[in-house]
């Protein structure tokens, strides 16, 4: 029985590998579930939903304490938009290589999938290298976790994101190793799909961080969003107080 689960029938492999649009994912070897959704995939989506809340809390904290540093260095003195834009582009392209790796594996193109997995891991490593360089530069400029509010919130948000990227790179390299040993084939594509979901999530978190932390201007103009919203709340509070 166990052997039957681990080794799906030939027609299942053909179906998974030969699917033109590649949606079957070739993972029909899992036992049926009451939901009809693969349990591992469901678990990953639940994890990603909880991770949304995790990063939501971190980014919310950053935005609340934005422009609240009493001492320098201040963000507008440190942040290098062109540099970070390249990092954002690298991570965005890693999502493309990730999805191409999955598409290749679903077509049983093992060589192609290995190349794209390696490319994704490489792009992730380049992103991490860029982040390490940025952290080092900021640290040399006097920014630290304890120094001011910007340092504390910036390093926390981007640091946790970097940890996520690091975990993703290790995961991808593990899958590459498994693939090189011949144990990652079309029928195992769910393994790569789940890793891909995690990787794409890391990318979308950076999409939000890139705008919230880097692109929304600091200083007086950067307060536009909060000041206007705070004005609305304060006005409502005073109106309610009058009545």
């Amino acid at each position: 029985m166990a052997q039957a689960v681990l080794t799906p029938p030939a027609e299942t492999q053909t179906h998974g590998a030969g699917h033109d649009t590649g949606h079957d994912h070739g993972h029909a070897d899992h036992p049926p579930t009451s939901t009809g959704i693969n349990s591992r995939k469901l678990l990953m989506w639940l994890f990603l939903a909880s991770d949304c809340m995790f990063f939501g809390a971190l980014i919310a904290t950053y935005m609340i304490y934005r422009n609240k540093s009493l001492t320098g260095p201040y963000p507008h003195e440190l942040i290098d938009i062109p540099y970070t834009s390249v990092s954002a582009f690298v991570l965005l392209m890693s999502s493309l290589t990730m999805v191409l790796a999955l598409a290749a594996l679903q077509k049983n193109d093992l060589r192609g999938s290995r190349i794209w997995i390696a490319a994704t891991a490489l792009l992730g490593t380049i992103f991490l290298g860029g982040q390490f360089f940025e952290f080092t530069e900021f640290h040399h400029e006097g920014l630290s976790l304890q120094g001011n509010m910007f340092g504390a919130t910036f390093f926390t948000v981007t640091g946790f994101h970097g940890i996520h990227v690091g975990i993703g790179v290790v995961w991808l390299l593990t899958l590459l190793w498994v693939s090189l040993r011949g144990n990652l084939k079309a029928e195992d594509s769910l393994d790569l799909e789940i890793a891909g979901l995690y990787w794409h999530f890391v990318d979308i978190v950076w999409i939000v961080i890139f705008v919230m932390i880097y692109l929304i201007p600091y200083g007086e103009t950067g307060e536009q969003l909060h000041e206007s919203a705070a004005h609305v709340i304060n006005t409502a509070q005073m109106v309610l107080g009058i009545f």
Binding site: L42, A57, F201, I204, V211, P217, Q237
Partner: protein, 120 residues
């Protein structure tokens, strides 16, 4: 056994369509162009009142495209989309809740200050 899993009603693993490789590349090009636009409008006018809303809309567009096409949520079981959207709503709620809490606190202090000033 595998056949049984495929024939289960509601089993979504089979029958959905995914974009082709060419479509993935087109989506990536669009995402790259949006990123360029984000950076460009940042340099055009940092003081513009439309800058923050424009950046938000562009980021949301990228977010939805990655989740929908690269993560296949557009083509996958709708319950997965509901789970992820639930997480997103709670994350957004956390942000709004914290923001209102902080500024509501300030408003209370301001009201108390004004009240005491009026009494004096």
């Amino acid at each position: 056994m595998a056949q049984h899993a495929q024939s289960l009603p509601g089993t979504h693993e089979a029958g959905h369509e995914h974009p082709t490789e060419a479509a993935y590349i087109r989506i990536a090009v669009i995402l790259a162009i949006i990123t360029v636009i984000e950076v460009a409008i940042y340099y055009i006018d940092k003081d513009a009142s439309w800058l923050v809303p424009a950046l938000m809309v562009l980021a949301a567009t990228k977010f939805v495209m990655v989740v929908g096409y690269f993560m296949h949520l557009k083509f996958d079981d709708r319950r997965l989309a509901m789970i992820f959207t639930g997480g997103m709503v709670l994350a957004l709620g956390t942000y709004i809740g914290l923001f209102v809490l902080m500024h509501f606190h300030k408003a209370i202090e301001f009201t108390a200050f004004m009240t005491s000033a009026a009494r004096q």
